[in-house]
């Protein structure tokens, strides 16, 4: 077999269009799944029984079913009961819903590492429940959870490739088209593998910068050091 990248280079603009879609979908889903995961984590350990049950059921359902089946259920299943679906919004929603479940567990684990002493200290200062969450629990919990969350975000980026199965023209989808058109699967997929690597390295880099920016100082504050 002769290795020849020229067919790939001639379709580079088309592959870049796919990359743009991948990045857009990934960024939207990272934000949504983080926000939703945070809410779920708070519900999961809430004192209100209903919220607790809702969050555990949600997390169990989404963590114990395959993503591609969830995706097809939303995209092709819902229209059968009269809810029309479009590929891009459905894809972003499916990714956010699925990844929120994992994120919620990571954030909950982070919250549970925050010592009870800090909460008691906050209460004795007369802080409200919201203030205790906002200023004491969450900064600590997110500091602990941030790196595992970063891994989850990287996973999310890789999972976006599944959206090509519901006709989203993302990097993986466009790559499949170029491969089918040029009969150069080795060259096409090698290029795309390297590109996905570049995207995930960038995500890891951003996650680390955010950690350095927000949380390295949190750790320095004596009151935040945890276990009393």
């Amino acid at each position: 077999m002769r290795i020849d990248f020229s067919p790939v280079l001639s379709r580079l603009d088309y592959l870049l269009e796919g990359l743009a879609v991948t990045v857009l979908v990934a960024v939207a889903a990272i934000f949504l799944s983080f926000a939703l995961g945070l809410l779920l984590a708070i519900c999961r350990i809430s004192r209100t029984r209903g919220l607790r049950i809702f969050a555990s059921v949600y997390i169990d359902v989404f963590r114990n079913t395959p993503f591609i089946v969830q995706l097809f259920f939303l995209y092709y299943g819902l229209p059968e009961i009269g809810i029309p679906t479009d590929p891009m919004p459905t894809g972003i929603l499916a990714l956010s819903l699925a990844c929120a479940a994992g994120n919620a567990e990571i954030i909950r684990a982070g919250i549970e590492t925050v010592s009870k002493g800090i909460v008691d200290a906050g209460r004795s200062f007369g802080m409200s429940g919201y203030q205790i969450y906002r200023y004491l629990i969450l900064p600590n919990a997110l500091r602990i959870a941030w790196r595992p969350l970063g891994n989850a975000f990287v996973n999310l980026v890789l999972t976006t490739s599944v959206l090509s199965t519901i006709t989203v023209n993302d990097l993986a989808g466009n790559a499949a088209n170029v491969s089918a058109e040029t009969f150069k699967p080795f060259e096409v997929y090698l290029t795309v593998l390297v590109t996905y690597c570049a995207v995930t390295f960038t995500v890891s880099g951003i996650v680390n910068s955010i950690y350095a920016l927000l949380f390295s100082r949190v750790a320095e504050r004596p009151v935040m050091r945890g276990h009393a």
Partner: protein, 263 residues
């Protein structure tokens, strides 16, 4: 002494490798020796290739594959492939022959060798009955479902460049896209299109015009002259013996498109 032992060992290995290279057989001999032919068949487009209620592969291509194995005198191993994976699967030696409704094109023939045709079809458009599309001229700005790397995709790009392409993984998805009105048209060969139109006559219809006349052939790896010649003979006797008409009628219920037996 020791050195010369190593040298002769290396020489022996080199010789052995050379021999293996020289004795490398044509795929025809390899298949006969292996007593199995691995046929790459698409099983998502009824009635050309599909799975029945008991999950058994059925359809026109499966019948042809069975005849092929029978005449080779070997067992048939069906490997499920898709439109976009059939050529890569062949080139990476996962299958011996593509029997997946593949149209022989000059572009594909650069990477794959094709036999004489064992079926003839043409590209058609499936449209929503109430959509008002009558041909390629109406496709601008419309969502058109295409399979990745198919003849239909190339035709839409060329004849209706303003159309929005919706890429699907298998024909089953195309039916959903059309039935759920996510797309306005679907382009594929008449075999698939006519069957879908027949199945959903209230909502969908196939346009009468056939936009191509495509030979459907068996595809194999290059540099296999005796296997290719064997397949040519197989395909032309399949047509001349009347088995072509018989098998076509069995699955589509109509007269088979005309095909000349060239052997």
């Amino acid at each position: 002494m020791k050195k010369s032992w190593i040298t002769s060992a290396i020489a022996g290995i080199v010789l052995l490798c050379g021999n293996v290279g020289a004795a490398q057989a044509d795929d025809l001999q390899k298949i006969i020796d292996a007593k199995t032919v691995r046929a790459g068949i698409c099983l998502t487009s009824e009635p050309a290739g599909f799975r029945d209620a008991d999950n058994n592969p059925k359809g026109y291509d499966v019948d042809v594959a069975n005849m092929l194995a029978e005449q080779l005198g070997v067992a048939l191993e069906i490997v499920e492939v898709e439109g976009s994976t059939r050529i890569p699967m062949l080139l990476s030696d996962k299958i011996d022959v593509i029997i997946c409704n593949i149209t022989a094109t000059t572009e594909r023939a650069k990477s794959v060798d094709f036999s004489f045709p064992y079926l003839r079809t043409g590209i058609r458009l499936l449209v929503q009955k109430d959509g008002g599309i009558t041909g390629f001229q109406d496709l601008a700005g419309k969502k058109v479902v295409v399979g990745r790397g198919t003849t239909g995709e190339a035709m839409v790009k060329q004849r209706a460049p303003e159309a929005e392409l919706v890429y699907i993984e298998n024909p089953g998805d195309a039916i959903l896209q059309m039935r759920q009105k996510k797309a306005d048209a679907y382009i594929e060969d008449s075999l698939g299109i006519d069957w879908i139109a027949k199945t959903y006559p209230d909502q969908l219809m196939s346009l009468p015009e056939t936009y191509s006349s495509d030979p459907i052939t068996l595809g194999i790896r290059k540099d296999n002259p005796s296997f290719l010649r064997w397949l040519d003979l197989f395909a032309s006797t399949y047509v001349s013996s009347g088995r072509y008409d018989e098998t076509y009628r069995k699955w589509w219920g109509t007269e088979a498109p005309k095909l000349n037996a060239v052997w």
